[in-house]
């Protein structure tokens, strides 16, 4: 074991870098052609993609800002413009980066011609994109997907569906493009294939040892967010799944000595992602499941595409109530045979985080496994107290000894 790392890197990482580089270059080229939209991670991107619009993802760029450890500086630029430090750090760093692209990784995201927000992941996205609109002049389109309580009602689907029709009208008038059903079906097929492969890779983590750890999934999720509905995403997930299958068949785990299996809830601290998870890997802790990367699932394929888009995108993890979140965590703990869970209470993200104190109690009641809530942020490392977090994690791990 001496000299060996506790964590095994994926071979597909180099392919991931190529795919993401191409995505960035495509974004820059599209911006120059006047065909770029910034899109929220839960937006039904199949529609703009089918209409020939390239998408860039500010949340993903937020992850880059975080991992480059420039979150505090870029958030600070937004605070200089008057945005409270209590606001979402994805939004603050995005506003800061738009304000000072020259001081941002890769010169900032390419300039958008439209801003497409879907509030199925949080209410902040509308206000964040409004702020970007004020700075760039790009118009905002809101696809309003009210949170779903229980079963989605017919009037709810009808309302979201009308929003999708308005989206098509908006894109047509903004970009002078049109939507062909055949092309939308092709895009939907690519999206389904990528999501199927991604889901299989995630489910492979039910094996012991788990072939993927949290950091692996958080990095590998990039194409499912930013290239959903395209061929390169399918190619990447095919390669990833092959590698994951290979690991499973050979009994190779993501970490060398798997002892404790935990669930991770919420976005990770991007600025600390390797240090945090690899540090725990050295202690035999692996995270075979998390709620964040499992959020991209389902297919819009079928007879009535718009209906399916309305149903699928309204019912995403963050657009359902607390009980639905608890149910999902309980299901993951059981299916992946986990020993406990870590809830990262992200100060930036009220939609994801407010309620975790109650969720923690419920999950433990229903599964019998212990959990811990740690507090911090995903991009703004000023809000991350490493020593305090370590103490709480240590307390959790002691329960397994």
């Amino acid at each position: 074991m001496s000299g060996e790392r506790a964590y095994r890197a994926l071979n597909t990482q180099s392919l991931l870098q190529q795919v993401i580089l191409r995505y960035m270059l495509d974004g820059q080229a599209a911006s120059k052609r006047g065909r770029l939209a910034w899109v929220t991670s839960g937006f039904p991107v199949e529609i703009p993609v089918a209409m020939g619009i390239t998408a860039s993802y500010p949340e993903q760029y937020g992850a880059v800002i975080g991992s480059e450890k420039v979150g505090p500086a870029l958030c600070g630029f937004a605070e200089d413009l008057g945005y409270s430090e209590e606001l979402c750090s994805y939004a603050r760093s995005s506003i800061g980066s738009t304000s000072k692209p020259g001081e941002s990784p890769m010169g900032g995201l390419p300039k958008p011609q439209a801003l497409l927000a879907c509030n199925n992941i949080c209410g902040t996205v509308l206000r964040w994109y409004d702020a970007i609109s004020q700075m760039t002049g790009a118009p905002v389109f809101l696809l309003d997907t009210p949170p779903v309580q229980g079963e989605q009602q017919p009037h709810h689907i009808a309302y979201v569906r009308r929003g999708i029709e308005r989206l098509v009208t908006f894109l047509s008038s903004t970009f002078g493009v049109s939507l062909e059903e055949q092309r939308l079906r092709e895009v939907a097929t690519y999206a389904t294939q990528a999501i199927d492969l991604w889901t299989k890779s995630l489910e492979a983590c039910k094996n012991k040892p788990s072939p993927l750890n949290c950091a692996d999934r958080f990095l590998a999720m990039a194409p499912i967010v930013s290239l959903r509905g395209t061929a390169p995403a399918v190619q990447f997930y095919q390669a990833l799944y092959e590698e994951v299958r290979g690991r499973v068949s050979q009994g190779i785990g993501a970490i060398r000595d798997e002892k404790i299996r935990l669930l991770w809830d919420n976005i990770p601290p991007w600025f600390d992602i390797f240090k945090f998870f690899n540090g725990l890997a050295k202690r035999g802790v692996v995270f075979p499941a998390d709620t964040y990367t499992h959020a991209w699932s389902g297919s819009i394929e079928g007879e009535d595409l718009f209906h399916n888009v309305a149903a699928l995108y309204s019912n995403v993890y963050l657009n359902r109530g607390l009980q639905a979140k608890v149910d999902k965590i309980v299901e993951l703990i059981k299916d992946y045979d986990l020993d406990g869970f870590v809830m990262f209470s992200v100060r930036s993200c009220k939609r994801y985080s407010v309620g975790q104190l109650v969720s923690k109690e419920r999950v433990t009641e229903q599964t019998g496994v212990p959990g811990v809530v740690i507090e911090g942020d995903m991009v703004d490392s000023r809000l991350f107290n490493e020593a305090q977090i370590q103490t709480r994690i240590d307390a959790l791990l002691e329960m397994f000894q």
Binding site: L81, G82, Y83, S84, E86, L87, C88, A91, N119, C122, G123, T124, L126, R127, W128, D130, A131, S133, Q134, V140, L142, D144, P146, P147, Q149, Q153, H155, H156, A158, Y159, R162, G163, G321, L322, Q323, S345, R347, K350, R351, S353, V354, G355, Q356, L357, V358, R362, E375
Partner: protein
């Protein structure tokens, strides 16, 4: 074009404090924010003695008429400035300060008169999740939700909200065994219209002459009605407006005020222009779910200043509730209530920032506002995102602005008062 020139407010229009006393029959200027809060609590306790259920509501844009039509009293869940802790085991410190305050009230034995509570859905993330936490912590409470469209006002959003109102109506009937009554709806619409008409008149009068009625008093009367909408609470504000109108009639200015009121309702102000030569500052207060009485009390208690300097608020519990258009009883009542709610002045929880900014710009220029106060509730995303663009347009309009980070407990009260006082002194609008 309507054009006013006022050298001194007190010499124009209404004749000042004598009118206030005549209208309200009580010297509310002696009351404090705490007194009013205690009075509201007392009113709620009285309500709880009756057999009529009381449902507290968190977000001010609800169909008051619907609840009344079910024989239920809707009562706004006001923040309590005196509440201490109680949320810690359930909510993180970064949940919005209003949500924490309400939760603390409930967990420390408040809300004794509660028959049920209504939370909004699709307005902000904190309140969305707090409703779930509430349901878990207080399973004995009847918890209702009303989901709003966040998208712009159009037929789709009206239809969506109308359906949600039907669901709410069914839930109320099931929970309390009180069916929806069309007769009670008609009475409720009349009652609520009487309140809004009166409050709108007073708002319009205060823009022309802030001495018409003190801002504190107006906020108090609005609060009393929203705490318990009934004939008793509509009477003071209605009487106050009637007295003001009588005086205006003598001066031949009723048409002027009514015209301003209508323009405020439509958000146009196309024929209004107010010019003021008074040295007293004319302040507009903007923000979200900040208690107008808290703001009034900050100004009242800031040394020699009076809340007379506040000529208008654009707060959720103030202007934005008061200037909700009436429910049209013709046709489907649920569609009519939906249309009324969605036609109220836009909130930062909704789509439409550019239009909101345009409206503020219009008010600044047409109403001779020379100071803008922007209230920003702690950990409130909608408030905090909206503040920078508002400050920017104020700056572009040449209107000095003051940003007030605030929480329901006024935990930073001394500093807030100090900021207000020193800002006004810097501005040159020293007290008389």
């Amino acid at each position: 074009m309507i054009y006013f020139v006022h050298k001194e407010y007190k010499n124009t229009l209404t004749g000042g404090s004598a009118l206030i006393e005549a209208a309200t029959k009580q010297d509310s200027l002696q009351l404090s924010y705490g007194d009013v809060a205690r009075s509201s609590e007392q009113r709620l306790r009285e309500l709880s003695m009756s057999r009529r259920p009381t449902v507290r509501y968190v977000y001010p844009h609800i169909p008051l008429e619907l609840f009344l039509a079910h024989g239920i009293t809707p009562s706004l869940a006001w923040p309590d400035p005196s509440v201490q802790g109680g949320f810690e085991g359930s909510l993180q410190t970064f949940a919005c300060s209003l949500a924490r305050n309400l939760f603390s009230q409930r967990s420390t034995g408040g809300f004794s008169s509660l028959s049920g509570i209504l939370f909004p859905c699709n307005t902000c993330d904190s309140l969305l999740n707090v409703a779930d936490v509430w349901r878990h912590r207080f399973p004995e409470d009847k918890l209702f939700r009303l989901t709003y469209p966040a998208a712009r006002f159009d037929d789709d959003s009206v239809r969506f909200l109308a359906e949600e109102l039907k669901i709410l109506s069914e839930s109320l009937k099931d929970a309390f065994g009180r069916p929806f009554s069309k007769d009670e709806l008609a009475a409720a619409v009349a009652l609520v219209n009487r309140f809004r008409e009166s409050a709108q008149i007073l708002y319009a009068c205060r823009i022309i002459n802030p001495n018409t009625v003190s801002y504190f008093e107006l906020a108090r009367m609005v609060r009393e009605f929203l705490t318990s909408p009934n004939a008793d609470t509509v009477e003071p504000i209605s009487g106050s407006a009637a007295a003001v109108l009588k005086k205006l009639e003598q001066e031949g200015q009723v048409g002027t005020v009514k015209s301003l009121k209508e323009e405020l309702l439509s958000g146009t102000l196309s024929s209004t222009k107010i010019a003021v030569e008074s040295k007293i500052p004319r302040i507009m207060v903007v923000g979200g779910m900040t208690e107008p009485l808290a703001i009034a009390s900050l100004f009242k208690d800031s040394g020699k200043l009076s809340d007379e300097v506040i000529v208008l608020d654009l707060l959720s519990y103030g202007f934005k509730t008061v200037f909700t258009p009436p429910v049209n009883l013709e046709g489907d009542p649920f569609v009519a209530m939906s249309r009324s709610i969605l036609n109220a002045p836009s909130e930062p929880t909704q789509e439409g920032l550019p239009r909101r900014l345009e409206f503020i710009k219009l008010l600044l220029s047409k109403l001779s506002i020379n100071i803008l106060v922007v209230c920003e509730q702690s950990f409130c995303d909608p408030d905090q995102f909206e503040t920078p663009p508002i400050l920017k347009i104020a700056s572009e309009a040449g209107v000095p602005s003051l940003r007030l980070p605030i929480d329901p407990e006024l935990s930073d009260r001394t500093r807030l008062e100090g900021r207000i006082q020193s800002f006004l002194e810097t501005f040159g609008g020293s007290p008389r």
